[in-house]
């Protein structure tokens, strides 16, 4: 291969260091000695638990609701389909805090739907774990929907045709043919949604609040800690970095053969 242009290599190195230096700084400033101590405090433990539970639940909820939505977008032609697709994509570009405000107006105690939820079912989302899950699902589900919709569109429709000619009802075709064939992208979409939910901050703090032990997720705990105790913020950040790296490495194993 010919030697690559020097300017390109320099700019690439600059970009790489742009990602590497902050991480290195984090590691450099970390209070490694007091690490076990900070990690075992109540605040960190509960934030980690809330983050894991809510992000996994948000990912599962995204798959449960997003899969049918992706199927409809990919397979059912109807007027307004592109409008619906734009609506689903919106949370990707919307600042999460705006999403949180919108959720508050819809599902908050005095919101459009929230008021009914509270008076008829006694369900309150603000300040509760379900509220965290709703906020995270709002920003995470688009990743799953778009991933799965793309996969369904790329699927040869004749697999479904063949199953139908063999006597399979539409429901059976979906469960036995469509879903298994789309499974790898459903898994990929769910992981993307999970990663997005794990890092969620803006919508969650706006919609569910910042109650330690109730709605305080890891990112929110990092932000809160930063205001009083920088060392705790660094440790929490390191935990998030570790979890994210773990996911990336696992995913690489899965995706490497296809790449």
């Amino acid at each position: 291969m010919r030697r690559p242009p020097r300017a390109l290599v320099l700019l690439a190195a600059l970009a790489a260091s742009f990602f590497a230096v902050p991480l290195a700084a984090l590691a450099w400033r970390a209070p490694w000695a007091s690490l076990p101590e900070v990690l075992t405090t109540e605040v960190v433990g509960s934030a980690l638990r809330i983050s894991l539970v809510s992000s996994l639940a948000a990912s599962a909820l995204s798959a449960f609701l997003g899969l049918p939505l992706a199927w409809v977008l990919a397979r059912v032609p109807f007027p307004g389909r592109s409008v619906l697709r734009a609506l689903v994509t919106l949370p990707l570009v919307l600042p999460p805090v705006v999403g949180g405000v919108a959720l508050l107006l819809a599902l908050g105690r005095l919101g459009l739907v929230g008021r009914a939820l509270e008076s008829f079912f006694g369900v309150t989302l603000f300040g509760t774990l379900p509220g965290v899950i709703v906020a995270e699902t709002f920003v995470a589900m688009p990743f799953l929907v778009l991933t799965v919709e793309g996969a369904l569109k790329g699927l040869d429709p004749r697999y479904e045709d063949a199953a139908a000619t063999l006597g399979a009802s539409r429901g059976l075709v979906f469960w036995k043919i469509t879903l298994p064939l789309a499974a790898p992208s459903v898994a990929a979409g769910a992981v993307l949604a999970w990663a997005r939910a794990l890092g969620e901050f803006g919508a969650t703090i706006t919609f569910a609040g910042n109650l330690p032990g109730e709605t305080q997720t890891m990112p929110i705990a990092v932000y809160t800690a930063l205001l009083r105790d920088v060392d705790a913020a660094i440790v929490l950040s390191l935990v998030l970095v570790a979890v994210s790296l773990l996911v990336l490495v696992t995913l690489r194993e899965r995706w490497a053969p296809q790449a």
Partner: protein, 350 residues
């Protein structure tokens, strides 16, 4: 047992308008150029595309009749479909591919697998039962697709280009086995192909589809003797002209006249085998009276014979031996004399 279908349907820019009748135990082969609507016709019969008008009846049961608002969905029609490229389910084992239809129709898992196993044994591919379809060769995949379609015991079997995915070496043997398998199936058989050899080998009757319409229908021998379209003529390797019969000659629509032994008066086809066309360097003398000159537009070698396309007042294809090509030193673009015997031209009403 029989299929009766009056099919009027639209798919994209194609307007399908074709009547298909077939009896049980009969193999009807649909041929036609790309985009003629062959696959569309199969999809309509299977219920994968709706009829806009017409009626499809299988063994007296109305499958679809838009006028009566009747339409059975594909899963409730007793039809087996072998798709082009076979479309085996990649996530299921070969055995479960074949068992799929039986499972979908309510068989228990054990019974479906046992029956599927029997089908694989009948097809001679039982050793692949637990493999995934991707390890199969084209010929094996075709057998699995056929077994999968036959396992539900359909009354109508549709095959879309069943041999197109195979390489030329495997094709002859798979075709022989396919013909044997089709012979054992006692329902109606409908095969789509664009390969003339395949059509002639498999068909009891051939249906020529052109631009969504049936251009000609008949036994393979009827078709090869009396083609009614340039597509069929080319399919069976004949020269075909259309013109007006005038008793002892035909005035060709494309210009020029051809002397023949007998031509009915009126619109006719004149067909001629390329072997009956003679080529000369100089104007020929003697009995042939159909003599004209033209320019060699193309030479195509094919299994010990060479097809020579000559453009001139009457365009014609001649078939000669490679030795004759050398002897006459035939070169593209050069002038050549063509002669044909009147008695060799077959003339029949259009």
């Amino acid at each position: 047992m029989s299929l009766e279908a009056r099919v009027r349907a639209r798919a994209g820019s194609l307007a399908l308008d074709a009547d298909v009748r077939a009896a049980a135990g009969e193999t009807v082969v649909l041929v036609g150029p790309n985009g003629a609507g062959k696959t569309t016709l199969l999809r309509v019969l299977a219920g994968l595309l709706p009829l806009s008008a017409g009626r499809v009846t299988l063994d007296g049961e109305v499958l679809e009749d838009p006028a009566a608002r009747r339409r059975l969905p594909p899963e409730r029609r007793s039809i087996g479909f072998v798709f082009q490229d076979y479309v085996l389910f990649p996530h299921l084992s070969v055995l479960d591919n074949v068992a799929f239809g039986l499972r979908a129709r309510g068989c228990s898992k054990d019974q479906a697998r046992a029956e599927a196993q029997e089908w694989l044994e009948r097809m001679g591919i039982a050793s692949y039962a637990s493999e995934r379809p991707r390890v199969l060769s084209g010929g094996q995949a075709q057998k699995v697709a056929l077994a999968r379609a036959l396992a539900t015991r359909p009354r109508l079997l549709l095959l879309d280009e069943p041999l197109a995915a195979l390489d030329a070496g495997a094709r002859a043997e798979v075709r022989r086995e396919l013909k044997a398998s089709l012979g054992r199936f006692d329902g109606v058989r409908l095969v789509v192909t664009h390969d003339p050899v395949e059509a002639m080998a498999l068909a009891d009757r051939v249906l020529v589809l052109e631009d969504g319409k049936v251009a000609q229908e008949g036994t393979p021998s009827e078709l090869s003797a009396h083609p009614r379209s340039s597509y069929i003529a080319e399919l069976v390797g004949l020269n075909l002209w259309r013109g007006r019969g005038l008793g002892d000659r035909v005035r060709l629509d494309s210009g020029g006249e051809m002397l023949v032994s007998h031509a009915p008066v009126g619109e006719v086809y004149a067909a001629l085998h390329p072997r009956a066309v003679s080529l000369y360097r100089r104007p020929a003398e003697g009995s042939p009276r159909n003599v004209w000159s033209g320019r060699i537009a193309g030479l195509e070698g094919e299994g010990g014979r060479v097809r020579v396309r000559v453009e001139g007042s009457i365009p014609v294809v001649a078939e000669v031996t490679p030795a004759a090509v050398a002897e006459l030193s035939l070169i593209e673009g050069e002038e050549i004399w063509v002669s044909i015997k009147a008695t060799e031209v077959s003339v029949y009403p259009a």
